[in-house]
């Protein structure tokens, strides 16, 4: 365990400063868990290939109260279509009402501690911190230990939210290394529909970490589209946990696009708790330099007749390293489960590498499950085919990689976001 006394001091400070009664007890319990488990090392099977312990060897500023960020600083990171979007801004892990705009009716955003006390009390009690049962390490507990400035997002039942929700996780690391720990709980009522896109940005040059936990609860007949774009600075690391619990027959589409960052670890969970619930998990990572990308996914089928479909594709260049771990649980009662999983990788250099591992744990006997993974280099025959038509080597390579990425990009149903991501990919292709 690194930095024990430092975290203890910071923890005591926070407990005194923010004594809202719903959260002090939660933090206390989580901090006990954190001290017990600590920052995961590579001895932890789930962190075997992702070494984050060394990141915690320095003192981070936790929960910066006062940053000098202006709207202009944030403008640089706004996603296309922001003029009509609901924009939720976190600065150093703290929700900023001043920078945020909620435009759609049917969606409300309030401080997590308030929701824990008001009419949403029961929902918060039942769903908040559900993710901890799916991650056995101190990093999730660390987020919960320091919950402060988190939000509860409520999507009213029968509301199709007409404007997308853009969430910006911004870290102001201009003066000192920062540990940002955004926390949110999203509740989608029955028959509601919403589209969420999240992005991460670090301003300044000190090495910083974002340790985010977002929990989303999806009720009967609701439809969630969730896009994550990770294109942060090369000195910024993050652990991003997205825990989706489908309590009713509902549809969830997620696309995770990871293009840059120092160490990026994603935990994406789809917990299917109602028959006929459907989850689609797609991901594309395209890393260069020394960056490291780790996608850990969990699909938990607890009941019969659910469907999950998972496809992650990766391109790794230079010294970049990748990890894919896809866990699928099919519990005893989850008969007629359909669960598909695939991970495909292209390595563009000899120094790039990837560790990929499907992990299916099936306890029911009448199910349809498949998994597969590939690791290879660019298809030489395809390259020659394009070159023989007059397309120069670099351009041919770019076309092939773009084609490789295409079936993931097609899964982004928001045209503005898709165009934005395609643009980022095309830019990246000019540098391989």
């Amino acid at each position: 365990m690194n930095n024990t006394t430092y975290f203890q001091e910071q923890f005591d400070k926070l407990q005194q400063a923010d004594n809202s009664k719903g959260l002090t007890a939660v933090r206390k319990e989580a901090f006990r868990d954190f001290n017990r488990m600590g920052i995961p090392t590579t001895r932890n099977e789930e962190w075997k290939y992702t070494r984050i312990s060394s990141l915690f060897n320095k003192e981070y500023q936790l929960a910066a109260v006062n940053t000098a960020l202006t709207a202009a600083d944030i403008n640089a990171f706004r996603l296309p279509g922001y003029e009509t979007a609901n924009e939720l801004v976190f600065i150093n892990g703290i929700y900023s009402p001043a920078f945020s705009v909620v435009r759609s009716k049917g969606i409300t955003v309030q401080p997590l501690e308030e929701a824990a006390e008001n009419e949403y009390k029961a929902i918060v009690a039942e769903h908040f911190n559900h993710s901890k049962d799916y991650v056995e390490d101190g990093i999730n507990a660390l987020n919960t230990s320091f919950i402060h400035g988190g939000i509860f997002v409520h999507v009213q039942q029968k509301q199709v939210v007409e404007h997308p929700v853009y969430i910006y996780n911004i870290t102001d690391a201009r003066t000192t290394p920062v540990l940002s720990q955004p926390r949110s709980l999203v509740h989608m009522g029955v028959q509601s529909q919403v589209q969420i896109t999240e992005t991460y940005a670090t301003i300044g040059n000190t090495e910083s970490i974002t340790n985010q936990v977002m929990e989303i609860m999806v009720e009967q007949d609701a439809i969630l589209s969730y896009y994550k774009i990770q294109n942060d600075a090369s000195h910024a690391s993050q652990v991003s946990t997205t825990h989706i619990r489908q309590t009713g027959k509902s549809v969830v589409n997620t696309v995770t696009i990871s293009l840059n960052g120092s160490i990026v670890r994603n935990n994406l969970h789809a917990v299917l708790e109602a028959p006929y619930a459907e989850a689609h998990l797609y991901g594309l990572y395209f890393q260069q330099g020394n960056s490291h990308i780790d996608n850990h996914t969990v699909v938990d089928n607890a009941v019969p007749n659910c469907l999950s479909n998972e496809l992650y594709k990766g391109i790794l260049d230079d010294n970049a390293t990748g990890v894919f771990n896809g866990k699928v649980f099919v519990r005893k009662d989850a008969q007629k489960t359909n669960a598909f999983q695939s991970n495909k990788n292209i390595l563009l250099s000899d120094a790039a590498s990837v560790n990929t591992k499907p992990q299916l744990e099936i306890f029911a006997d009448d199910v349809k499950c498949s998994h597969g993974c590939t690791v290879g280099s660019l298809d030489e025959e395809a390259l020659f085919y394009l070159r023989s038509r007059g397309i120069p080597y670099k351009a041919a390579m770019a076309l092939l990689l773009q084609g490789f990425a295409m079936d993931i990009l097609e899964k982004i149903q928001a045209p503005a976001i898709r165009a934005h991501v395609e643009e980022l990919i095309i830019q990246r292709l000019t540098t391989v």
Binding site: R387, G390, I391, Y393, G403
Partner: protein, 255 residues
């Protein structure tokens, strides 16, 4: 236009071409026939610049340039086209996007401006009609899920779009039914002019019924052992390649 002299080449240490000599002039159609393993596809690959092959001797001059010194893309720019025996499937890249990139890269190589959208579409429509192709096929991923005939039609469509000086057809007829062969051969015939040439590599006479060659060469064991006119192809069809082999043996015995 193309002058091959004493071309020797191989792959992974194995010598396949053992001294090829061939000259093709503008306006001509040449056919290269021969049994399996004679080196027909190797010749096509070496001419197009497939990276796996090693050239051990000889020269190839294409319109006055040293062809073997050019990258595959530069050969295309110079006006050489290879219709693949096994066209590659490329998921995620539409035929339209692919051919547009190719046309404009070749134009760039030749110092021409990129085609504007209208001219490109017009040209594409015209060539699609030539190859009896429909738009949906071009909107699909390149060759992905195409039938054998569709793939070969797509090859000739690309040839029509790129307007090469020399088209090398590597077993374009293999695996095709008679209707597909007719469409493919008609396409090639309509593209013929006094300024361009065709080198058709084939195992059978069938394609040559439609694509009447001026010269027929027999490739055997890495060498062109017999050349003639279109009648030679008919003779081969009738008597098989064995008669060539026995002729060669007799020659060797005499010498």
């Amino acid at each position: 236009m193309l002058r091959i002299e004493n071309l020797q080449a191989g792959i992974e240490g194995k010598v396949i071409l053992k001294g090829i000599n061939l000259e093709i002039k503008p306006g001509e159609v040449h056919a290269i026939m021969g049994p399996n393993g004679a080196g027909k596809s190797t010749l096509a690959s070496v001419l197009a610049g497939r990276p796996d092959y090693t050239i051990t001797a000889g020269t190839v001059e294409f319109d006055g340039k040293d062809l073997l010194d050019l990258s595959p893309e530069a050969r295309a720019g110079e006006g050489l086209f290879l219709s693949f025996q096994y066209p590659v499937e490329i998921p995620g890249l539409t035929t339209t996007n692919f051919i547009k990139t190719a046309v404009n890269e070749v134009r760039k190589y030749r110092g021409q401006e990129a085609l504007d959208a209208v001219s490109f579409l017009k040209m594409m429509k015209e060539k699609m009609a030539l190859m009896e192709m429909e738009q949906p096929m071009l909107s699909r991923s390149l060759n992905e899920g195409f039938s054998g005939g569709e793939k070969k039609r797509n090859e000739i469509f690309q040839m029509a779009m790129l307007q090469p000086k020399l088209a090398i057809l590597d077993e374009t007829d293999s695996g095709l039914d008679i209707d597909a062969i007719r469409i493919v051969a008609n396409g090639v015939n309509k593209l013929r002019s006094k300024d361009n040439a065709v080198l058709a590599i084939t195992h059978y006479q069938r394609l040559l019924d439609y694509l009447v060659p001026d010269f027929v060469h027999v490739l055997y064991n890495g060498r062109i052992v017999k050349s003639g006119t279109k009648e030679l192809a008919l003779e081969l069809e009738e008597r098989g390649y064995d008669f060539i082999k026995s002729e060669l043996q007799q020659e060797e015995a005499v010498s």
